[in-house]
Amino acid sequence: MKKHLKAMACITAATLMSVSAHAGLSQPAVVNVDMDNLFAGGDMISARGAKEDNVFIGCGTRNVEDGSGGLFSWAFCQAADADEEQVTCFTFNPDLVKTIREINDASYITFSWTDDGAGTLTCTRMGFSTQSFYLPKQKKPKKKKDD
């Protein structure tokens, strides 16, 4: 009986310690492509760490000289989720193109689009959020005995 009590105490202590080692809000956002509401979102870290090989999310820009002294600038967002829903939209709106600068490695990305009915998708909204709860958990370093 004493042995059982000791074991339970050890398990409880270990559980409490593990909770304290992983403190901090964690709210990963797995990639979701919603073809009904023309919306996609997800964080880069969850996408990269997804079990499924096809999952991804991202946005980018292209700036190409037009040969006449001008620049052809456009941006895109694309994503694929675990349900194999995939989307790619483009935008030529210069203000929207500029917003891509906000992305970083740990960003949550969200975007919306319009569909002309024939498959031409135009990005109408791009959003980026960089917050601690999208970052992977990091184990705290173990305390030394003399501390």
């Binding site: 037009d66 002294g69 052809f72 790619t88």
Partner: protein, 176 residues
Amino acid sequence: MRVCSEGKVKLGASKLFAVLVVQTALLLFLGYRIMILETRAPEAQTQPINNNPVATPINSNADTSYNAASRAETRQIIREEIDAVEGRLLEAIEQSGAVRSKALTSRPRKLDGRETAQINTMVENQINSFVAQGDASQAEMAELEQMIAKLPPSERIKAMGQLSKAVNNGQLDVRF
């Protein structure tokens, strides 16, 4: 682009022709002035004698000095006329040269309808080729993007629309 360079050649040829016409006109003008001066020179030689019958007796030395002075004066006038014509010619040549160099360094002109149609066809063929193979490499996409960039803005959006359709209909697997 070939049409563009032909256009420049035509422009250059027309400018050269204009310079040639100006040069010819100036040479004719110079010839005309020389002819007038030649006709006036004998008059200049005879006028003082005719107008001044009581002038100093004409001797061979005086006649020689007068003729020499007259010839020098005539040469001076001709030289001035030639200088003026040369100046005008140089100015005309410089202007035509400036036009030529400007034509070489200026921005390429906008595409005409035929060129736009040609690039549109190339873009369409390229997208169809990608669809046929099912995917496109980053290098192939870069080439396509450069082609699309040459199009007028409204045509670019149409071309990108074709690309969007191919990608979102699952016909073309690309990562930008």
